[in-house]
């Protein structure tokens, strides 16, 4: 019990001071039938640091580490190299063990960082403003739809078929309870996104159109016309970015007219972490700022007129507004926002552009190599660092076989869309700067082998 500083002598002295004979006297309000008389059975007692570390290390060893294999998984979580100084900084106790900055005079470190983070996100997205982060991309996506409903006072949201199916699931779950009307469709294997189909559906009941960029198949498209048509109907365009590194080389959604841009910031500074914690990004046009969910950091002055930062507009938040609150967000991903911000500061404009260029080049190389394989075709012509291939067989089987050969090959559309048989032969392949030429060759060779062995799909 190395974390507990009181010893028995302290406890005895303190019990006297509080006027209790035993510790049980302090639990006197617990009904007798509910109080436990000893440690819970079936749970082990305390263990040494060495023993605990050994146990956790043995669990860690059961996992195939991405860094030990040719690795091509994306679909909403990307493996990028994170500079060593990022983790060094987020492990500083003054960041790691600080509380939410409600007392700004002694939290300027966190607050200035959040102000810088907001500015970085807003610029990357091409938005006027951004908040101090959300839980993750998927919950940020749903909050954006709720925000669009508040602004437009309409309840119908059109979700692009290119939106990450887990994001769609999250929105559908919530919409069932809030009675929002979500229109969703399955992706087809066309090389282009479904903007025309979305435009056809926009009407006077539509609150928003939600598109992902790059989308779940890796496709990218100019959303300017979609934004214009949405605006004509007074509906909002929400863009979802799950791979923000892309914005180092392609146009930002804000530039193309998106009203709200949300995203997953995991790519920059955070790491894979088996799905979390991640960091939701959220930006919008200035005119909607008071409808934006989440924490906001704003500039102000102190009593001496010096510049400083505070959390602001918190009267929108649920701990104050109780049942009138406009969102479920009661915290942010502060430490992940710090990791994002530090990594972005290390990159800078020049570094981000180079990183994006390397990602794109590696992905193009991989696509060109895979296109040479008999039986494989690349679905999308336009992409950043992720694209989709047809394998002519259920991709789930291929992935398992490749994993047995030490290659983590990508995400099968069968896993993402279990009900859509027509998508089962699709494999989404992400290629970042962490992938080498040898990795690409290993994947291609193994795929050639396996497809040859299996023959074509009956």
């Amino acid at each position: 019990m190395r974390y507990l500083p009181l010893n028995d002598e302290d406890r005895a002295t303190m019990l006297v001071r509080v006027g209790a004979e035993t510790i049980d006297d302090l639990f006197v309000d617990v009904p007798e039938e509910a109080i436990l008389d000893g440690p819970i059975r079936d749970l082990p007692n305390h263990a040494s640091e060495l023993a605990v570390e050994r146990h956790m290390a043995s669990l860690a060893a059961e996992n195939s580490v991405a860094g030990n294999a040719p690795f091509f998984l994306g679909a909403g979580a990307y493996r990028h190299h994170v500079p060593a100084s990022v983790d060094h900084i987020i492990q500083r106790g003054e960041f790691l063990t600080a509380y939410t900055p409600y007392q700004p005079e002694i939290a300027q470190g966190t607050l200035q960082m959040l102000f810088e983070f907001q500015t970085q996100v807003a610029r990357l997205f091409g938005c006027d403003v951004a908040n101090a982060s959300m839980y993750d991309g998927s919950t940020a996506c749903w909050e954006a739809i709720v925000m669009a409903r508040r602004i437009t006072r309409r309840g119908k949201a059109l979700l692009s078929s290119g939106l990450h199916p887990h994001y769609v699931s999250v929105c559908q779950t919530m919409a069932r309870f809030t009675k929002d009307d979500l229109r969703v469709s399955l992706p087809d294997f066309g090389g282009a996104t479904d903007y025309d189909a979305l435009i056809d559906q926009i009407d006077s009941d539509t609150s928003c159109v939600v598109v992902q960029y790059p989308d779940i198949l890796g496709r990218i498209d100019d959303m300017t016309r979609l934004a214009e048509r949405a605006a004509e109907h007074k509906a909002l365009l929400i863009a979802v970015v799950t791979e923000p590194v892309a914005l180092g080389t392609i146009k930002s959604p804000g530039e193309m007219g998106a009203d709200i841009v949300v995203g997953e910031g995991q790519s920059i500074g955070v790491g894979l972490q088996f799905g979390g914690p991640y960091v939701g990004l959220f930006g919008c046009k200035q005119k909607y700022v008071r409808q934006m969910p989440g924490r906001l950091c704003g500039e102000t002055v102190d009593a001496d007129g010096e510049r400083g930062y505070v959390l602001t507009l918190s009267t929108r938040e649920q701990h104050i507004r109780r049942e009138k609150a406009t969102s479920n967000i009661c915290t942010n991903s502060g430490l992940c926002a710090l990791a994002f911000s530090v990594h972005m500061t290390l990159l800078g404009e020049a570094g981000l552009r180079r990183l994006a260029a390397v990602n794109h080049a590696m992905a193009v190389k991989a696509a060109e190599r895979l296109e040479q394989i008999d039986g494989i075709s690349v679905v999308n012509d336009r992409f950043f660092n992720e694209f989709t291939v047809h394998l002519g067989r259920d991709a789930r089987d291929i992935i398992r076989t490749l994993a047995d050969r030490g290659i983590l090959a990508g995400v099968s559309l069968g896993r993402l869309y279990p009900d859509a048989e027509e998508l089962a032969d699709g494999l989404v392949i992400a290629v970042t700067e962490t992938v080498t030429d040898e990795d690409i060759e290993a994947l291609a060779t193994a795929l050639e082998d396996i497809l040859q062995e299996l023959g074509t799909w009956a």
Partner: protein, 524 residues
Amino acid sequence: MGMNNVGRVTVPQETASDKASATATGNRALMLKEPLIFESGAYDRTGVDIPDAAEVKSRLCGLERDTVIGLPGLAEGETVRHYTRLSRQNYAIDLGLFPLGSCTMKHNPRLNEKVARFPGFADIHPLQPIHSVQGALRVIYQLGEWLKKLTNMPAVSMSPKAGAHGELCGVLAIRSALEARGDAREVILVPTSAHGTNPATAAFAGYKVEDIPATDEGRVDLEALKARLGPDVAGVMITNPNTCGLFERDLKAISDAVHDAGGFVYCDGANFNAIVGRVRPGDLGVDAMHINLHKTFSTPHGGGGPGSGPVVFSEALAPFAPLPFVEEGDDGLLHIIEEETAQEHHGQSFGRMVAFHGQMGMFTRALTYMLSHGADGLRQVAEDAVLNANYVLRAMEDILDAPFADSGPCMHEALFSDSDFAEGFSTLDLAKGLIDEGFHPMTVYFPLVVHGAMLVEPTETESKAALDQFILAFRSVAERALAGDERLKSAPHHAPLKRLDETQAARKPVLVWTDPDPRAEAAE
């Protein structure tokens, strides 16, 4: 496009009393003024060495970015220095006691950090084939088993991303269970002493919220609650130990009454660290409860997050728990039950709340902490947390109004009010005075049922010596508030900044940095 030193680094305004201490740079010995990265960085500067991209035929096909993004970079050394300087303007649990009631700031063991960074946990993808991530699934499974046993609840959902998200998860399960039996109830009852997030959550899940008053002794008014129960009430959201710092003695009776009326009981488990190992909420009839892993199981707060809010469920709500979750299969492997596999046994699940599996990085930390403490240690955690809180309560009640000091022992937190302060002095003045004494202020103005509330929670990781020093500071500042010491009204005097103008920030929000030069031109 360099942008060095073009910003608005402010020089401190000199006041008569301050003149001698003014410096040319604005620095004060070890406390240095730090400009924003937008004022010190440059667009062509970078702290990473990224190789040249290979020559390929671009497949961006006309979507190439042709504008400046506006992201300044710093060299690696400058970056480390920038954030290290910023860090020194923060208070943190590593620097001292955080007496934050209901927020529970305790020591964050570094073994937890080390374990969370094992590549076997940190460098794995959420969509890897399940046989390649069995150890990670084992962590989720084992942690869930601990939570079920500690609460005596048969089911757990690990995916909620924060406490409030866990509340939402619990209420959606209640609504799903009611809908499954064709029962369209519309009202959730929330005692006035509950967390402010509780009514917000109920409303966000589509319910009408009605308050239930507290008794004079700071607990739910059982008779008022019983009188309001009826066929329109979906459930009750209750916080136990409650936000007045007290154990809800009548929780079992409340649960029985709510169940008899066909509703469900949600318990806000934010304060679970006061009872862990001594009381199991399942024994008190609770149907759903979220557990903030940072509060009870020491994952770091990180300046606002990330949080993690697993939810435990009763038998009645278990079938409706959200996807995904981890289950042992007949093949001896652990499986992730998600959309693909849920139909067979989990068709009643209300669906998915987050993209992947929840906060894995928090799970590894929490499980490491649980194993370190063990069942016996966690029981000691609750005992020491409660002892420390009562120690603070009894050390202060002779000078500060403690509205529920006679209602029974406080649990993990002690509640005071500003009712005896001198005219014109508020809880905020006391809070800012504590900053000058080297402490983070307590939770202020919460709970709402007490005027000028101050909620103090020392937690179990504070020594008697640390408590004594805090009590010395707290008593001293309290005496100044009671006596009307004017200097307290402008506190803090020794923090990196003086009292900040929060009204100005809200009136005309400045949320992003803009280059001051164009703005100056526009103004001319």
